[in-house]
Every structure is written in C-alpha cells, then in structure tokens.
Symmetry: C2
Subunit: 347 residues, 2 copies
C-alpha cells in the first residue's frame, strides 16, 4: 500500500461462491463510500485517480459438465451477486427464476434431480458453452458474460484448464468408497456422508488463467474473503504458481475467517476442515494458511469479536490479527468488516 490513509488502487481477491460474493459486495460498498469508482478498464497502464481496480480470482473446482453444458457455480454467484441478478434469499442462482426446464427433465428422468438448474440460469450456461465451442477460453467467455452484468470487478477464473474437486466418500447406498464430484457430495449428500479425501483433480497439470499471477503480483493488497479454506481458497491455491506467487508478492495478504466459534458461518467448511485434519477454529485455519514470516500465506487475519481470546495464539504464529464483527448481514455491515481488513493490511 502506498500509505496508511490512501485507499489501495489495486485489490486482488481470491473468492469462492456465496461468502466471497458477499465480501465483494461489501468491498464495492466501501469503495463507493470512500468516494471512489470501480475501474474495469485496461489493466496495462496506471489505474486512474479516483478509481479502484478489483480483480477477483474465482474458484472453478466446483464446475460441472451437465447435459453438455459447462456450469461454473462460483463465477456465476460472484457475477450475479455483483451484477444485481442474484436471488438474495437462496444466495445462489438467478432472481425471478423459473424452473420449467428442470421440471421437464424430471419427467424425462434424465439429469441430476438434486442440482438447481433454473431457466434464466441455464441461459448463462448455454451462452458460456457456445462461447467455448467458438474457441474462446473460459476467461474470455467470462469476460463476455460479464458485459451483461457489469459486476464492477475484473472476474477471472483461477484457471482456463479443467479442474474438478473430487471427494472420496462412502456411498450411502452401496457402502463402498467412491470418488464423487464435489457438487454431489455438497448438494446431493449435504456433506452428511463420511468423507476421507478431497482432491483437486487435474490441478497439477493446470495453469493459472491469464492475468491471475500478475493481479497478485501487482496488487496493493490481496484479500482472502471468508470462503471455504479447503474447497474454495484451497482449490485456488492448488493451481501451480498461485500459492508461490502469493507467498512472494509485495502486497500484504489479509484473510478473513469463515469460522466463528467452532463452526462455519455458512456452507459446510467444518466438515471439510475435519476431512483434511485442520482444527475447526479461526486460529486453526490461520495456522493452516500459515504466516508469510515462515513460508505461509498470511500477513493478517481477521477473526470474529467472539473469538478475541484466540488473538494471542494467532499473533504468536507471526500473523497480525484483529477481532471485529464478521457477520455479513448486509453490504454496509460487510463494508465495515472489509475496512477493518484494509486497516489490518496497513498496520
């Protein structure tokens, strides 16, 4: 950052779905509150005065091939949320949605009855699939889709290559162990079946999407929202080069805990942390990410006020920490929390 009281011009955020999207909503609210405007123009030169460039690197490990279409839940949740197209009650999918195609698929007995596929949402997958078929990369297709939504951020997939998070579970019907797509574990089984391993399939052969490493290297601050540390942030970090670049980038890296007390705020992080053997607490996740002073990722870690007793333990790891209210109940409240993360960055 260029100074303690100057708002950062370039902010890079690693994001999963709902939690990341709400965090970004708060960030954009804060940007507006400080009198700045989002900059989504050229990334080559300087960001003009009065503008803030926010780059979002989104998890694509939840992506699903369904009926020949590519479905990207996290990219879409961020795009819809920031573009005003989200269903606010569900937190995912389109507002004013209808479910006629899904109803018909049920009549045909084809498809995944547990997967929410709304008619308006379908158009996003149809458009994306067509753009890919025409030879565009996922980054390029995402850019085209964002022209309709104007999310106020530059939205990048973590990679243009196919990566799928697989979960080794005990199949509740057969009793056999099997690897299933993360969405099947998450939505079909509600993360309520025994799980033993989480694998970002094909990640070792993947490359970060164009602009991802540069966005981290050129940032004034890098923020990790309270997204799932295992299957959102963890999957992004599994793309070769991203974790290394974060560890070495000049900007401070500040995270926000998705764990309050001994459970997640939303989603199912608790179950997944248990699978990978991480203590389910704000301090446990901080230790899992590690301090940059000792080869880890974090310069700072924001935890909930109710977990303030954990502050000394986190500081002892070499990570600056603050305890503030973390519940993202509405964008103005979230903006306050984001302001605290930026304050921590410049501490």
């Amino acid at each position: 950052m260029t100074g303690q009281h100057t708002f950062p011009k370039r902010i890079t955020v690693l994001s999963g779905g709902v939690g990341g999207a709400r965090f970004l909503e708060g960030l954009l609210r804060l940007v507006a509150r400080r009198g700045f405007e989002p900059w989504t123009g050229s990334t080559d030169g300087e960001v003009p005065d009065g503008r803030v460039q926010i780059t979002v690197v989104a998890n694509t490990g939840d992506d699903l091939r369904l009926h020949g279409l590519l479905v990207c839940p996290d990219l879409d949740t961020v795009m819809y949320t920031l573009g005003g197209g989200i269903d606010r009650d569900r937190g995912w999918g389109r507002s004013q949605e209808t479910w006629n195609a899904k109803e018909e698929l049920t009549h045909y007995g084809v498809g995944l009855p547990w997967f929410g596929l709304g008619d308006r949402d379908l158009a996003t997958h149809l458009a994306r699939t067509q753009l890919l078929a025409e030879g565009r990369s996922l980054s390029e297709a995402t850019e085209v889709l964002c022209r309709r939504w104007n999310p106020g951020v530059r939205l990048l997939p973590m990679s243009d290559d196919r990566i799928e998070t697989h979960v080794l579970i005990t199949n509740p019907a057969s009793g056999e162990r099997e690897n299933v797509h993360f969405q099947e574990y998450w939505i079909r089984y509600g993360a309520a079946v025994p799980a033993f391993a989480i694998t970002p399939q094909w990640a070792e052969h993947a490359k970060p999407a164009p602009g991802v490493l540069e966005a981290i290297d050129n940032a004034d601050v890098v923020l990790l929202p309270p997204s799932n540390p295992v299957v959102s942030i963890g999957t992004i970090l599994s793309v070769p080069g991203i974790a290394e670049t974060l560890k070495g980038c000049p900007a401070p890296v500040i995270g926000v805990s998705g764990i309050i007390g001994s459970d997640h705020v939303r989603g199912m992080a608790r179950q997944l942390l248990e699978v990978v053997g991480v203590e389910v607490s704000a301090a446990g996740v901080a230790a899992h990410y590690g301090s940059r002073t000792s080869g880890g990722l974090l310069d700072g870690w924001l935890i909930d006020s109710s977990d303030a007793a954990q502050l000394p333990r986190i500081e002892a790891l070499g990570i600056r920490a603050e305890a503030v209210p973390l519940w993202m109940t509405e964008p103005d409240v979230t903006a306050d929390m984001v302001a605290e993360s930026l304050r921590l960055a410049s501490r």
Copy 2:
C-alpha cells in the same frame, strides 16, 4: 395388405415436422375409430390381433447444434404432437411454454435470436444431449425421450449419423452466395431470399438408423404424408438405401400431396420446389416422386378435390390417384383423409 377390408397391421410413415405430425394424429384417430390400439411393443414377432404398429421415419436434416445441444425439430414436433405436449397454435414447440432462457440469451447477445428455444423445449435438448454424451445413439435417445410422451408410434430418426440440409442462398446483407443451415434459410430469412441449391450435407456417408429399412420392407403399407417433398421426404430419401428399399418393398407406397392448387398448404414447399425445378402442383410432385411401375416411388397419390382435373395426368404416370379433401383442420377430418389413402392402397 392382407385383404381389402382388413386394416393394415404394420404401417410405416416417412415424416417431416408439422404436416407429418398432423397426418399421424389423423392416422392414430383412424386406428382408434376402427377399434384397434397402437402397438409399441417388440418389433421382432407378430403384431398381436387388435393392434396396429406404426413406425415413423422422421427427417433429421433440420437438426441443429446450438449452444452445445442437439436440437431435432421434426422428431420433437412428432413426439410432442402425438404425446399431447405440442403448442397447438404455433404447431411446434411445447405447450405452456416460457421463454426466460431465450430472454437472457438476448441480454447476453449470444445465440440465434430468430430461433425459438423455449424453457420446456430446452429440457428435451438437454436430455437428448446428455443421453448422446453417455454413448447412446440418436435412435436410442429418441426411444428414451418417447417413454415420457408415449406417442403411440415407434419413432425412428432417418439416420443416427449427422446430416444437415444446407441451402445455397444470396446473403441479403453481403450480396454474396453462401451455404446456410436450412433453419437459417427457413426461419431467419423466411425462405424469402434467393436460393439456388439444397444439399443434404454428409448424407452420402450416412446409414439409415437401425430398423428403418426393415420397417419399410415389413410394412403392409407405406405412407408419405403431405410433408415437404424436398427438405422433409426428399432428405429422408437422400440417406443411402432408403429410396432403393421403398422402390422394392412389397407393400404399396401411397403419398398425399402437400400442394393444393399452385401453393403449399403450410410451410414453404413452393419456394423449395422452385429451387429444385419441380412444377408446383400436385401432379408436378407426383411426377417428381415417380411411379413404381417405372422406377419411381409411388403406387398411389392423394390430391385435393379442387385439383381433380389433374387426376388423368397422374394416372397416366402409372400412379393410382384420388381427389379428396386434404385440409387437415382437425384430427377427425384428417382421419377421413388417411382412410382414403389406405383405400387407395388396397385399390
């Protein structure tokens, strides 16, 4: 046929979209009126007494790859019409349809704005595409889709191989000649641009779908409904083996004219007949198909009462002909017309 007053047990119909579907509706009405029930069980043994097996060989040259999905307009029109799912006013697509996905695609500026892609209809294409991706042939996928609709007929695509009808037109914007997909000529341009050639692309490498040739060879009567002689029946006949089998099959082949006076009843057959140099009249199309007595396709040809003056000319070709009312205004009226075609078969 086994006798003049016996209803045929096996009827094979070559069909395009709307015209063929309405003809089949009339055929099924006639079957019911005569006290028979459709037989859609095994095709191996005998058709049980009291049952009539109707096999439909549908044109797939209008099929379209769109957003990664395979759209089969003629298969779907027949399936929806006979299964009670058609929008009767439009004649194509699903009843109680919504258009939310299409509206969103327009916002994205992706896709074909002139192509009708309803939300319920989309489910058929999604299901079909998934079935194909799982390794099923188009015939097999069609069979699965028909389980939901119970059309009362065995619905076969003319081929499991990709065939696309292309039309050489003058592009109205550039003035250049170009080959476009039939749907683009038909729907986007309303068949109102100059056209010079019609090609069933890749047909020469295609094989008839399993059961197609057998259905023709084993039929008691083969019927050609008033479907488009160029791009519906003509495209089916372009699949190697189908025209040859029709010419040699033991059953009578009876056609119904889609031309009344000097224009089509529905669709745009007139324009297409002009492209291929066929006289736009009932007798002109009969001559185009030709008589089986001289290497052609037809044993009989049903024309509209208003064209009765053409009867001698058609009979002179060696084709039995009758003039009866051909307007398929409702299934009971159509059933009368179909009864006339069967009477002509046993004449």
